[in-house]
Amino acid sequence: VIAESDLVRRAAKGDESAFLIVWEQHRDAVYRFASWMLTDSSGAEDVTQESFLALLDHPSRFDPVAGSLRTFLLAIARNFCRNRLRKLRPEEDLDVEEASGADLLDRAVQMETSEMVQSAIAALPPLQREVVFLFEYEELPMAEIASLLATDVNTIKGRLYRARQRLRRELLWMKT
């Protein structure tokens, strides 16, 4: 078994087979995360590519002691997503909820479940959105999420609580 740090180092030096191993192992997680954050598949593809290229440009920044390669790549992708969100909606506060989801619910009446979830996710503030993904999909422990997002566990718990409250309100209401 080749260590992740060795694979990254080899890939950064141009070893295509090493790169393909890293790519195939983590591509889906990074792409899913970017899709979740941006709700745009084309932007998600770009962010995924940028994240892997950033890893290759600075392989020494990956420290296997601090966390797994997947977590590291997700952290890179998070930065790219935030940059994009800021460019798209510069006035938006990343942690402030929008006034109401009522119009969203009106539009969602005829939607399929997956589309409903997509709409509800899109309505979440980005900082809450990323916490839900990392906790529910990646099933990362709170401490690892806190480390990845460079904050403390209580903040993560607060964001997750608010996100779940909002999703519960919208999704379960839509379902009934």
Partner: protein, 95 residues
């Protein structure tokens, strides 16, 4: 209630990436290599009929070149072979 919510959240599926997603990434990866490395590992795709036609042309030109070399008259520093030689036998040499 919470389980319902978790199930709903997990019902979300990311849209499928484009068909050239992997290829784009690989080409970006290869684009990072230095020029000499890219040149060394460069590949081109040529349709078989075009390759066959190019080989026939090269072969034809090669044959023309070789035939042209053998058909060319020999020129040895201005000396030409005698067209109608006449033989003259010299029996003795007077010094």
């Amino acid at each position: 209630m919470d389980e319902d919510l978790t199930r709903l959240i997990k019902s979300w599926r990311a849209p499928s990436p484009g068909t050239d997603f992997d290829r784009r990434m690989l080409s970006a990866f290869r684009g990072r290599a230095p020029w000499w490395q890219r040149w060394w590992t460069m590949r081109i795709e040529v349709p078989l009929p075009a390759l066959a036609a190019a080989l026939v042309v090269v072969l034809f030109l090669g044959i023309l070149l070789v035939r042209g070399r053998f058909d060319r008259p020999i020129q040895a520093g201005g000396w030409q072979p005698v067209a109608e030689p006449t033989l003259k036998v010299i029996r003795e040499v007077h010094e």
